[in-house]
């Protein structure tokens, strides 16, 4: 059996580990357009922050490919997939045959049309190790940075570079920062915290026009800058699969075995469309844990095993300047709220189930909440008041605890 994987991040690693659970001998080829050993993309901001090193960014140990008998092809770009011939074509003209293919191409920064952007000499996105290194080279203590986008990527970038530069200004069309993971009140709390650490925000605003060193905003404000970081959002990389005739609906369409509409082709990670069980909707969940679990599921199935992944939910653990946020699920239904000095807790309940939560500051044992969402545990089975107050196993029945802690079946 010959397995080919396009991509080299969490989904690819999950796939390799999934395949090797079932098939220890089949050949695995990993094709990556980057030149690096598999690394953790979210760590690029920690690299700039000085909290990790390039060597410590490895997502798996240096002997990972060797140990798993993987042929690693770095710095090669796939130009086409031929599903009939079961081949992928590379930019150097080579053709590689597969029996089973994983499409794990990830996502790319989305850069909207903005007037005058072409005049900005120092403009970057913030997604890959190369993009982080390129940005880092332009920064010194006099640099003024304008970040377009107050989402996870834009703000992690802001945190990563704040200590190196003169000032960081963030512009976003949305009225709140981190609008994909926080509600209004939580966003206001985090914004204040970030402002206390020297970030400046223009929200409900956008860049109307760039000159080479100044952005004029829709509100009329003028923001002088030396460097622009574009972090408006990401889009799944679906083109290759679509050109090969595979079904795409914003993301690659897959079933719960991670199979695409094309024979012997699976997909996983940021390029795919997931089913979010917390909102019962299909959506793009570009999250590293999701990518790994999809990849592992795909790998097991590619190797002839049986696995499904049908518990995807949005979830994020992220910190800024020492203040941690953990969120999961969807923010629908009745809200149960507790707000303190630099702590924030909101749980969302609907249909007798926990659907989502937001925690800031006190994130102790948050996974108990995540599990209630993921397992769709009826709240009538537990002491909800107790678990809301303090997540713990005390809120569960004695029988459930005997299973969890006593190994009872």
């Amino acid at each position: 059996m010959e397995y080919v994987i396009i991509g080299n991040s969490a989904a690819a690693v999950g796939c390799i580990e999934g395949i090797r659970q079932v098939d220890q001998t089949g050949g695995i080829t990993v094709i990556s357009d980057e030149k690096y050993h598999t690394y953790s993309r979210p760590l690029i901001s920690y690299l700039l922050l000085g909290e990790t090193t390039e060597a410590n960014m490895y997502y798996r140990p240096a002997d990972f490919y060797k140990k798993n008998n993987v042929t690693f092809m770095p710095g090669k770009t796939v130009t086409a997939i031929d599903p009939k011939a079961h081949q992928v074509c590379l930019d150097d003209g080579a053709k590689i045959s597969y029996d089973k293919l994983l499409y794990a191409t990830g996502s790319s920064p989305f850069v909207p049309q903005m007037q005058g952007l072409e005049r900005v000499k120092k403009q970057f996105t913030f997604m890959t190790l190369d993009s982080a290194k390129a940005l880092d080279k332009t920064l010194d203590s006099s640099t003024r940075v304008l970040i377009v986008g107050a989402g996870l990527i834009g703000l992690k970038c802001a945190e990563g570079i704040r200590h190196k530069v003169a000032d960081v200004t963030v512009v976003d069309l949305a009225p709140n920062i981190l609008s994909s993971i926080l509600d209004d009140d939580a966003a206001a709390m985090m914004q204040k915290h970030l402002e206390n650490h020297g970030l400046r925000f223009y929200l409900n605003d956008s860049v109307q026009q760039f000159t080479e060193d100044t952005a004029t905003l829709k509100s009329g404000a003028q923001v002088p800058f030396d460097v622009v970081v574009l972090a408006v959002g990401v889009r799944p990389n679906t083109a290759l699969l679509e050109e090969a005739g595979g079904k795409v609906n914003r993301g690659v369409v897959i079933n719960n075995k991670m199979k695409t509409s094309l024979p012997d082709i699976y997909a996983a990670g940021d390029c795919t469309r997931s089913h979010d069980i917390s909102s019962d909707t299909d959506r793009i969940l570009a999250l590293l844990p999701n990518a790994y679990m999809q990849g592992e599921t795909a790998g097991i199935n590619m190797a002839g095993g049986k696995a499904v992944f049908d518990k995807a939910i949005p979830m994020n653990a992220i910190g800024f300047f020492g203040l941690h946020i953990i969120t999961a699920g969807s923010y629908t239904g009745k809200a149960y709220t507790k707000i303190g000095e630099n702590t924030y807790k909101k749980l969302f309940v609907s249909d007798g189930l926990l659907k989502g939560y937001i925690l800031i500051g006190d994130i102790d044992r948050a996974g108990i909440y995540t599990s209630l969402i993921r397992e769709q545990t009826p709240l009538s089975d537990i002491d909800f008041d107790l678990v809301f107050e303090k997540p713990g196993l005390l809120a569960f029945s004695r029988e459930k605890r005997a299973q969890i802690l006593g190994g009872a079946k």
């Binding site: 590293l288 790994y292 044992r365 948050a366 996974g367 108990i368 995540t370 005390l394």
Partner: protein
């Protein structure tokens, strides 16, 4: 594999397992000297309710969500099934705390996360929490 299992009805709520865990982490000979006047940071924690007490530590899951979710690769499962943390590699994003269904992973004082590793890096053999339990409320065995 051998794991730490809880006999809930036998737990006295004495919290000695927490002290023994913290002691094992110090690598010192004398418990009183090692822990006197110190705030302890155990990897096993007793929950107390009305006449209910039980200890919770890592379950060393066969399908460990913490390991699968770890964004750095700092958490891994060794050949014996023990889930361990490479603290050098951890950047304390707390995705594992988001993921663990039992709340068995906690931030550590030095930043990285900490969790029960069944004493494989410290005293070895029977985990110190179990060895010191006065009423067999936690046991180390295959089930």
């Amino acid at each position: 594999m051998k794991r730490v299992y809880v006999n809930e009805k036998w737990c006295l709520g004495c919290h000695l397992c927490e002290y023994n865990c913290a002691f094992a982490q110090t690598g010192k000979e004398d418990m009183a000297l090692a822990l006197k006047g110190k705030q302890i940071h155990p990897n096993i924690r007793v929950e107390d309710g009305d006449n209910i007490h039980f200890a919770v530590n890592c379950r060393h899951c066969d399908e460990p969500l913490c390991v699968k979710s770890c964004i750095t690769g700092a958490l891994s499962r060794d050949e014996n099934g023990v889930i361990t943390i490479d603290k050098e590699h951890c950047i304390h994003c707390y995705t594992c705390i988001l993921s663990c269904p039992y709340g068995a992973i906690v931030p550590s004082e030095e930043g990285a996360i900490q969790k029960c590793e069944l004493c494989i890096k410290t005293t070895q053999g029977t985990p110190r929490c179990v060895a010191g339990c006065p009423n067999n409320a936690i046991v180390f065995e295959e089930r």
